[in-house]
Symmetry: C2
Subunit: 204 residues, 2 copies
């Protein structure tokens, strides 16, 4: 499949479809998305979707892997870094994750929905055990608080960071926040979460 030579500002049909697929799949999930939705969003003929990506499923897989990478790719290197302290890791997670999710707030619900319908494949592609058992973070947690299960603490830090983005549609619809205000709250949260987590680690 040779590439056409096109002006720099032109976006290839393939990329238009991929971008439309990102948008629609992210918003509605796999089952609720029609190939025609994607074609319309991309402004292309329906048949081109199959021409470039063979099938709806293949296209979805592409988007999913990309998003999965975005979601877990941020956290892995931070948790495994042997040169940072526990406190620094928490600070980094809060900061990097909130920054990422502020840009793509639909990411968590997309990932979690997909896990619900396809836990096996998801787990195969993420090596969760590397986080939950072997990571530097787990070792540091265990050393600090042998009486708290590291998984408990990982669920806590992730819950503190991610859960607000799951509540976001509810908050915004309830009129208690607009996009700007929500972003401001999440930025505020970047500072609170490390403080909160440190105090949790000191609980008697």
């Amino acid at each position: 499949m040779a590439k056409k030579i096109k002006p720099e500002d032109e976006v290839s049909t393939e990329e238009k479809i991929k971008e439309a697929a990102r948008t629609v799949f992210m918003k509605k999930g796999f089952s609720a998305t029609r190939t025609r939705d994607i074609a319309e969003e991309a402004g292309i003929n329906l048949a081109l979707l199959n021409y470039y990506f063979r099938s709806k499923e293949k296209l979805f897989e592409l988007v999913m892997m990309e998003k999965f990478q975005a979601f877990f790719g941020v956290i892995f290197p931070i948790l495994n870094d042997p040169s940072t302290s526990l406190e620094q890791k928490v600070e980094l997670i809060a900061d990097r994750y909130i920054t990422l999710l502020t840009e793509t707030p639909d990411l968590p619900i997309f990932i979690l929905s997909e896990i619900r319908t396809n836990a096996e494949r998801m787990v195969a592609s993420v090596h969760l055990d590397k986080i939950l058992v072997d990571s530097q973070f787990v070792k540091q947690l265990h050393q600090r608080r042998p009486d708290m299960h590291p998984v408990q603490l990982i669920m806590s830090i992730l819950g503190l960071v991610v859960f607000p983005f799951l509540m976001r549609p509810l908050l915004m619809q309830a009129g208690n926040a607009d996009t700007k205000m929500f972003t401001a709250m999440m930025n505020d949260r970047k500072q609170w979460i490390p403080k909160w987590f440190d105090s949790m680690l000191k609980v008697k």
Copy 2:
């Protein structure tokens, strides 16, 4: 529509369908569920679904309202009780919510997925502002920590309680837990969350 007189142990067709709908909708969500899935799960003829409930959508709405009630009904009375302290409320939420969700662990992802595709209707049926602005809990939070936005703290407590159930499929698939072990962890969590939250409130 007169009721048939049937032996006590017989379950009515209507209830069989409703129960099957609960099961399938909860597991797969609205779009991924086929009416034939529900009919099969209920062990009834496909046409009976429309005979008793008019449409897939009407049946879904019924299930959804029920689950919504379960999810928010637990939290409302606790947060609005003027006779309990901040600490008692947190303890109650952790205990009651974890108990509820241990019985129906798919509830959170179901609710959140539905909110994603239908935030307006959801918000109309929950009076979220009653929690986020007017509740006793918010007043107590504000009195204790005027420098922390109450919504921040509500997101935190809910995140600590609910998020593990969203990660459950991932944890269990990763082989780091079976049902029994997960339940044990969540029971453990009933005691940690109040301690954690109290320490968060004391952060400098």
